[in-house]
């Protein structure tokens, strides 16, 4: 079984009647030799760490390495009851920012799929948990997220330095949206639609961290990712389909990534990183911490 496309996973599900997470676990076993029980228990562990990073750091003012962010999650948490966009959406964004700020403060997080985009998936999954979805369902949703990310990593990339932020926040959003659909009881096809809608919306997003550090715009993009993921999960559940299937969207994203100039791939030389404000912040920062030879 030489599976490496999402449509193949859907076909296997349809032929066998097995749920997507089971099929993914079998694929994983044939591919890496790890038993389904082992993968599931490690996935459960990662889910616990996600929960732990949120619970430990929520509502706190964090001291990030460069100090460009750190109290945004706290502000958002206090505002949840007033959010016009809705409590659930704003909750997801708040969790995403909490974890992203924790990442920027050298706290323990799960690099799902990367440190910079580590808030998106937990933002969605932990919100689902808060609103009553069972933990085991969410662990299996995380397995599904892994399959989406794996297929992206095979045919494109999960690295901002290689393919821009579409590969980090974009992939994280696709993974979270697909996971949410799975947790909500959607079909494998709906999972792929939600992931495809996400990647299409973030197609071409550049990687432009100020000074090259994972703070601005990274932290707040995690809020965007979690919010969009919930939106596209709902749209897929409503029956909205992606005209272009997920596998082709991934190939398109790969091509766009290859066209991105180096200045827009984590070098801190383009996009918002190249603005006058960003430059003056970084000048001041590097003056303070000049290395000796």
């Amino acid at each position: 079984m030489n599976v490496n496309r999402f449509k193949e996973l859907i076909e296997i599900c349809e032929k066998t009647g097995e749920p997507l997470d089971k099929v993914v676990l079998h694929w994983e076993m044939l591919d890496t030799g790890l038993s389904p029980e082992k993968v599931l228990s490690k996935t459960r562990f990662l889910f616990k760490v996600m929960e732990e990073s949120y619970e430990k750091n929520k509502g706190k003012t964090l001291k990030t390495l460069v100090g460009l962010t750190g109290d945004n999650a706290k502000k958002m948490m206090e505002y949840i009851p007033f959010a016009f966009s809705g409590e659930k959406v704003f909750q997801a964004a708040t969790i995403a920012v909490t974890i992203a700020e924790s990442n920027a403060s050298m706290k323990k997080i799960v690099a799902c799929p990367t440190g910079g985009a580590s808030g998106v998936v937990p933002g969605v999954l932990l919100t689902l948990k808060k609103y009553g979805v069972e933990e085991e369902k969410l662990v299996s949703a995380l397995v599904v997220a892994g399959a989406i990310g794996k297929i992206i990593s095979i045919h494109a990339s999960l690295s901002g330095a290689q393919h821009g932020c579409q590969a980090e926040i974009g992939s994280g959003t696709a993974m979270a949206a697909g996971a949410a659909v799975h947790a909500m009881g959607g079909s494998p096809k709906q999972v792929s639609d939600a992931a495809a809608l996400s990647l299409k919306s973030l197609m071409g997003l550049v990687c432009d961290p100020v000074g090259g550090f994972v703070e601005v715009p990274c932290v707040k993009r995690n809020a965007a990712g979690a919010t969009l993921a919930l939106l596209f999960a709902d749209m897929a559940m409503a029956g909205v389909q992606s005209v272009v299937p997920l596998d082709e969207v991934i190939d398109a994203m790969d091509k766009v990534g290859r066209m991105l100039p180096e200045s827009l791939r984590e070098t801190g030389k383009g996009g918002v990183a190249a603005t006058p404000t960003a430059k003056s912040i970084i000048d001041a920062f590097s003056k303070k911490f000049k290395m000796e030879t």
Binding site: L65, N103, A104, K107, G146, G211
Partner: protein, 223 residues
């Protein structure tokens, strides 16, 4: 193909898998080579490691690794305090190591008078490549327990080393060989193993006539 566990993980200390986690793993390799925390360490930072030293916490990651902390231990963020408590002397210097990966560090350690030097690169997604150990070129990812042998370049030398390993039931995963000096009849072998070896086996190898010196580094990957 990667495992989905590498996609949805690992659990780590932020912020960056290449500038924090990868740096820490290189340093953990040096810790394992020393079989413990050294007395002194100097980190020579090359390329972008010089820029990410504070902003990505690379300095703390390196320090956490050499102190033997696990890669997801929250203490990494306070590795300077940990080092102080242990009494480790440490220093950072900028260096130009030439044509190597931008995220590269040279780590020079001293423990009970024994000096070691490794050069490693963080090549993305937390993966590392050790390119030199005590000036012997290599290409190791730290995933296997590794035996580094400098042996005499005479017929049958390598075979007899392998025989000792198989006598103890140790399986070899991969092997990299290098002729150090044809003139001095010196060669080196980096032998990646499927399982760890005991001090006894290591001593036995060190005492072989054809072996000039042998080092052992445990795998850096944690369960």
């Amino acid at each position: 193909m990667p495992s989905i566990l590498e996609i949805i993980g690992p659990a780590m200390i932020g912020p960056s898998s290449s500038h924090t986690l990868g740096a820490m793993r290189i340093s953990k390799f040096a810790y394992n080579l020393n079989d413990g925390v050294p007395d002194e360490v100097v980190f020579y930072l090359h390329g972008s490691f010089q820029d990410t030293y504070i902003g990505h916490g690379t300095w703390l990651a390196l320090l956490g690794g050499i102190c033997g902390l696990k890669t997801d231990d929250p203490q990494v963020a306070r590795a300077d305090e940990v080092a102080k408590k242990i009494g480790l002397k440490y220093e950072y210097k900028a260096v130009d190591l030439g044509n190597v990966h931008p995220n590269t560090v040279k780590i020079v350690t001293e423990k009970s008078g024994v000096r070691h030097e490794i050069i490693g690169s963080s090549i993305g997604a937390g993966r590392i490549k050790i390119i030199s150990i005590d000036s012997i070129e290599c290409d190791l990812d730290g995933e296997y327990p590794t035996l580094i042998v400098e042996n005499q370049d005479v017929p049958g030398a390598l075979e007899s080393i392998i025989n000792v390993l198989s006598f103890y039931g140790v399986n070899i995963a991969t092997m990299q060989l290098k002729r150090e000096s044809k003139y001095l009849h010196k060669a080196s072998a980096m032998i990646e193993l499927d399982s760890t070896i005991s001090k006894e086996i290591l001593e036995r190898i060190r005492n072989m006539d054809v072996v000039n010196s042998a080092l052992y580094v445990n795998a850096i990957v944690e369960e």
